[in-house]
């Protein structure tokens, strides 16, 4: 709409010392019906549920660190956190981009269906748990039980992975450059084929990660848990 052009460059400031969380999120959720496309959230002080339920092509910069579920269920928006995030960042994201300059606590990108989550620091345990199509790129390390029951999508880790990586994995692809402390049940190392190198190269580029695809190993599901076999019963 031509009428919105004049306001496009304006950044709306949402200062959490001045306004409540409800007003912050309501403003962002109303964005499609306003002229604003850029927002900055200040004084977050580790608050929960910041910038959740967005559904517009807007850009939100969160200055500081957040608590649980930052950018939860995001659709289309770009959310950039300059600090660290608490548990469940971008949980159940559908589309859009979430970038975290610092570290992420447990459950980063849990159950998310789409979009790109970039963590510049480390992610702790259960990164990508039950992921259903999201792409996650972690520049640092990830903690234990990451990609537990991961169904779809790609998890890229430039650093090391903790215990039980990819336990009970379905069809998600895991790419790790560093060491893996241990693999979970039914997760195995797999051959890196040309198609995987292409996927990885694209994800690394989109995540601003300086790494070579051929330095990574690929892990995936052995698919032995897909159909019950009494001789594998101890893996359950």
């Amino acid at each position: 709409m031509i009428a919105t052009v004049q306001a496009v460059s304006d950044v709306q400031i949402l200062d959490m010392e001045q306004i409540e969380l409800r007003e912050v999120n309501a403003t962002l959720q109303r964005a499609p019906s306003t002229n604003y496309t850029q927002f900055e959230i200040l004084n977050t002080r580790g608050s929960h549920a910041i910038a959740v339920g967005l559904d517009a092509e807007i850009e939100v910069i969160v200055k500081g660190s957040t608590g649980y579920y930052c950018a939860g269920m995001n659709q289309r928006a770009t959310v950039h956190v300059t600090g660290s995030v608490g548990p469940g960042v971008a949980e159940n994201m559908m589309s859009g981009t979430v970038i975290v300059d610092g570290d992420a606590s447990q459950y980063a990108g849990a159950t998310a269906h789409g979009g790109l989550l970039v963590i510049k620091g480390n992610a702790s345990s259960r990164c990508g748990i039950s992921m259903k199509g999201i792409d996650i790129v972690v520049h640092g390390n990830i903690g234990h039980m990451s990609a537990f029951m991961a169904q779809k999508g790609n998890l890229v880790v430039l650093g090391d992975a903790g215990d039980a990586l990819g336990d009970s994995l379905y069809e998600a692809r895991l790419f790790v450059r560093g060491s893996v402390k241990s693999l979970g049940a039914d997760c195995i190392e797999k051959e890196m084929r040309a198609e995987h190198l292409d996927i990885l190269a694209d994800l690394l580029a989109r995540a601003g990660a300086d790494a070579k695809p051929q330095d990574f190993k690929r892990y995936g599901s052995a698919r032995k848990l897909y159909h019950f076999n009494v001789d594998h019963a101890d893996a359950y």
Binding site: G46, S65, G83, Q106
Partner: protein, 295 residues
């Protein structure tokens, strides 16, 4: 189910601010534990042992208590009252006689130690911090807890921290699944918990291990072997504090360290007001790993 905070100062000049910093941390964790709150403060050491007692009727219970105790012991006793709590200082050799005297008068002993004082009550953390004047307290380190009671009663005695030996205190976030069995084992060893609370069982377990000769690190490691369920423990001693999480480690825990302090919080937001937090090293304790800081 709860919120935990802990602060261990590395520098002397911050000591007067300990209570103030800890109060902000504690109040931030109110949502995680609105039922009750408690703190253990490791303050100045005096000439004797401090005994923190609690009474629901402090006006009558504490009236003349120090004189009566002094007469009984034939030794000097000092008393500092603080709302429902009072801290009595007695000579070390008089501890046993003091305990018997206080219990006979119906007072609840919250904790004993050379440095530690414990204050806990039901109610919102903000109100609990205010009624005890937490902000004005100084010290070297302290641990706080906000409680959402799971399976035991919302009472003063059910609040954390639990102290089951001198200068030891324990707070817990999670829920233990074998505490009833452990309670029976500990009772046979003479470390019977006084409440139905699962955390007190863990505190008694650690005290029993230390009494048997384990050091604190070994005792905390022992919780990984012998206690089942979900837990993040933060433990205070006279000279330090320790942290351990269960192997599954799905209850939240985050730590921050600067040149000035080490801080523990159930959530990052507990740290938001700490000085220099933006440049602190912030990390999450690993599962099944014991962390310990000592001065």
């Amino acid at each position: 189910m709860c919120g935990i905070v802990g602060l261990f100062l590395k520098k002397e000049d911050l000591r007067p601010r300990l209570g103030d910093m800890l109060a902000d941390m504690l109040i931030t964790m109110s949502d995680r534990g609105p039922d009750s709150a408690g703190i253990a403060i490791y303050g100045d050491q005096g000439d004797g042992h401090k005994i923190t007692v609690q009474s629901d009727t402090p006006d009558t219970a504490f009236d003349g208590l120090d004189t009566a105790l002094g007469d009984r012991l034939g030794a000097p006793v000092t008393m500092k009252t603080n709302d429902t709590h009072a801290v009595l200082t007695v000579p070390a050799e008089a501890l046993e006689a003091t305990g018997a005297f206080l219990e006979a008068r119906g007072l609840r002993i919250m904790g004993v130690g050379e440095a530690m004082e414990i204050y806990k009550e039901t109610g919102l953390p903000r109100d609990v911090a205010t009624r005890f004047g937490l902000r004005a307290m100084g010290g070297s380190h302290g641990i706080g807890h906000t409680r959402m009671a799971t399976e035991s009663a919302v009472t003063t005695l059910g609040a954390h921290p639990f102290s089951t030996d001198a200068d030891q205190c324990l707070v817990h976030n999670g829920s233990l699944s074998n505490h009833n069995t452990m309670r029976r084992v500990l009772a046979q060893k003479g470390f019977a918990p006084k409440t139905e609370n699962d955390t007190e069982v863990a505190a008694c377990y650690i005290s029993s291990r230390i009494a048997e000769g384990a050091n604190l690190g070994e005792a905390l490691s022992g919780t990984l072997e012998d206690l089942d369920g979900f837990f993040t423990f933060v433990m205070g001693t006279k000279t330090g504090f320790g942290v351990v999480r269960d192997p599954i480690a799905c209850k939240p825990a985050v730590m921050a360290e600067t040149d000035d302090y080490v801080a523990f919080g159930s959530e990052y937001r507990a740290f938001a007001g700490l000085p220099g937090i933006d440049s602190a090293r912030v990390w999450e304790p690993e599962p099944a790993t014991v962390y310990f800081w000592e001065r």
